[in-house]
């Protein structure tokens, strides 16, 4: 590998609203809604798009190769199209792939489409089918686990940990309430911490229903252009500085006596080191993190920001991660608010880009956002980490 060939800017973002009631649209129509919005946001027509990349969770809607059917709505008729499906990270992988495709010089303008219509499928079945049919499929009964909670509780004690996790959840909901597209906006208040801890049904261990992510329907579209085209087509392109994808064999055994380094930590270490960023908490202005549950979200703050001991709990307790805090976390509400899985990881980059542009509307961070971080997560502990910049001119990196 070597250095980036040319810069790539995000010039268009389109999203549908996220809900679990989209009976009035079929899948191509839902895709089409996001496509039209993305094109309108970019101010371009289909004729200016060179290639379309499409992704969602394989077989979650019980349709094989849905990108073919979705041509009815995606605008891919007569164009080159690629399909990418990498589990929960699909949306983020689409962003990385679009970056690679445009940076390489093969295409000047790429449109990426991420979507999910979980109402039309069977999520649990889809996840269970990921396990190998000879052994693990018999054991696996869904994607839920309480092990994230028990790890945090073992380290910091039940009371502090549970409060921090509930605090996290309520903060995410408060952010979601500012985002008109978010699926679940429950209207939670901080004085409900005690009552929610007592009343929300326990799913597995200390993982309660309230902590869990949503199951949403929706689509997200992002349009990427080469530096030259991005500058010509957009007043405020958001630049992709760097990204990393980490999927490591050690993660296979996170429940043994020796716990390996998480892919989150590995990704953050590698990415920030090669970009000369010693202190990510200071450097970034916003972090859209893929948080499948409040417990994981809480735990991964430490992993991603390379913190130690209880620094992440302190950040939570001091309110540093709120909209007006030191490092706003998920101003969009995150994955606990909206989770159209094939789009979810892309939403992180899309929402981070909206913050950089100043276009996030009701959930816009008030201070200037120059440096944004977005993460994607997949069920096999796969991590994608993406860095976005408002201005060009960062130090070039050798990917080694």
């Amino acid at each position: 590998m070597g250095k980036r060939n040319r810069n790539v800017g995000i010039i268009g973002i389109g999203q549908t609203e996220y809900s679990s009631h989209k009976e009035d649209q079929n899948q191509p129509e839902m895709v089409n809604q996001a496509v039209r919005r993305g094109l309108a946001d970019a101010g371009i027509g289909l004729d200016q798009v060179d290639c379309i990349i499409h992704g969602n969770m394989e077989l979650f809607e019980m349709v094989h190769q849905p990108d073919m059917w979705h041509v009815l709505g995606s605008g891919a008729y007569g164009k080159e199209q690629l399909r990418i499906t990498t589990g929960g990270t699909t949306g983020a992988t689409l962003v990385c792939a679009a970056d690679n495709l445009v940076a390489s010089g093969v295409y000047d303008v790429v449109m990426a489409i991420g979507l999910e219509k979980l109402q039309e499928g069977n999520t649990t079945g889809g996840i269970t089918n990921m396990a190998d049919p000879l052994w693990f499929r018999n054991l696996q009964t869904g994607a839920l686990s309480g092990t994230a909670a028990s790890k945090v509780i073992d380290e910091f004690g039940a009371d502090r940990s549970k409060r921090a996790a509930m605090n996290y959840r309520i903060t995410m909901d408060k952010h979601a309430c500012l985002n008109p597209r978010a699926h679940r906006r429950l209207g939670l208040e901080y004085d409900q911490i005690e009552s929610l801890m007592a009343s929300s049904p326990r799913l597995v261990g200390e993982l309660q229903l309230i902590h869990m992510c949503s199951q949403s329907d929706g689509a997200c579209v992002m349009i990427f252009a080469s530096e030259e085209k991005a500058k010509a087509l957009s007043d405020k392109p958001v630049w992709i500085r760097d990204h990393i994808t980490v999927h490591r064999e050690e993660s296979y055994n996170i429940y043994g006596l020796e716990v390996p380094e998480t892919t989150h930590h590995y990704a953050a270490q590698a990415l920030f080191k090669r970009n000369g960023i010693p202190n990510p908490l200071e450097y970034f202005d916003v972090f859209e993190m893929y948080d499948p549950s409040a417990w994981w979200g809480l735990d991964w703050i430490r992993e991603f920001l390379l913190l130690e001991d209880d620094e992440h709990l302190k950040l939570m307790e001091e309110g540093a991660l709120k909209m007006d805090g030191k490092l706003p976390l998920n101003p969009s509400g995150g994955v606990t608010a909206s989770n159209p899985i094939g789009a979810t990881a892309m939403l992180r980059a899309a929402e981070a880009a909206l913050q950089v542009r100043g276009d996030a509307g009701g959930h816009q961070i008030q201070k200037d956002v120059k440096h944004a971080l977005a993460s994607g997560f997949g069920g096999t502990m796969w991590t994608v980490l993406i860095m976005l910049e408002k201005e060009l001119g960062w130090q070039e990196v050798d990917h080694g």
Partner: protein
């Protein structure tokens, strides 16, 4: 208030016949009780059998139901008109389910078209077609020699892990390659039969098994362990004996419990129990 956006509980029940999809109800046998509290509340019993539905208003107690849905009227209507999900209503303590909960996700959407509010007051609302189906695909999986040895070993009450010739780590169940070292692991090692527990997952809310539609009765517990003889990073997981759920702690020793009759396959290993 007992209603949501002008839609009352009775609207939901009055339209059930019209929204019923008899094709989706073939092969379904369920008796679903509804206990709705608050204004416009009441008790209903819905019997689905042989592709037909029968809805009765109930005075007094519900009996003979395979599932009971208990909710306040506003929440019940809210869920039915799509304002929020069943999960959210449950999280907020406004809806609870007794008995077979899978009915909510697996059966109801198949047998009823969604409730669409009447528009233009009193006129027939827009009907939206929703089809349900259960595609079933038969599959046959080749085990290969490595998983084949593991599965057959279960028939002999043995666990066959394999070992990497380069780094020495074990893999349980065995995998052909050590992905760290990228070499073939041709040496098998008998491990266990007992092990040490590392983590415990106590499951209160079970997801249905898509292969059978069945749901394990809850609570049940999955334990993660390192079998004796395995390298420390090599974890294994299985179900814990139900009567041990309250006693189990990380660090305890466990041993396997085998089926009386074994065929050399997955079902030979029933669960693990605390080894005292």
């Amino acid at each position: 208030m007992g209603e949501y956006d002008g839609v009352k509980v009775e609207n939901i029940f009055n339209t059930m016949e019209k929204r019923f999809i008899s094709l989706g109800a073939l092969g379904v046998d369920a008796v679903i009780g509804y206990k709705i509290t608050g204004d416009h509340g009441g008790t209903w019993k819905l019997t689905i059998s042989d592709g037909t539905m029968d809805l009765q208003v109930v005075q007094g107690a519900l009996e003979g139901c395979t599932t009971e849905i208990i909710a306040d009227a506003e929440a019940f209507v809210g869920v039915n008109v799509g304002k929020f999900s069943v999960a959210d209503a449950m999280a907020g303590g406004r809806l609870s389910i007794e008995g077979d909960a899978t009915v909510i996700g697996n059966i109801l959407p198949k047998i009823f078209l969604p409730f669409i509010e009447d528009i233009a007051g009193g006129e027939q609302g827009e009907e939206l077609i929703c089809l349900s189906c259960v595609p079933t695909i038969r599959q046959r999986f080749a085990t290969g020699p490595v998983m084949g040895k593991w599965l057959k070993g279960l028939g002999e009450k043995k666990f066959y892990a394999n070992r990497c010739p380069k780094c020495g780590r074990t893999q349980t169940p065995p995998r052909e390659i050590c992905a760290d070292c990228r070499v073939r692991c041709t040496e098998f090692a008998q491990v266990g039969p007992g092990g040490t527990v590392t983590l415990i997952d106590k499951v209160m809310f079970a997801s249905p098994d898509p292969l059978t539609g069945k749901v394990r009765s809850t609570p049940y517990a999955m334990i993660f362990m390192v079998l004796d003889g395995c390298t420390p990073g090599d974890s294994f997981s299985h179900e814990l004996k139900r009567s041990d759920i309250d006693r189990i702690q990380s660090g305890m020793k466990v041993r396997p419990v085998w089926a009386e009759e074994r065929t050399g396959g997955y079902n030979d290993l029933l669960y693990f129990e605390i080894d005292q």
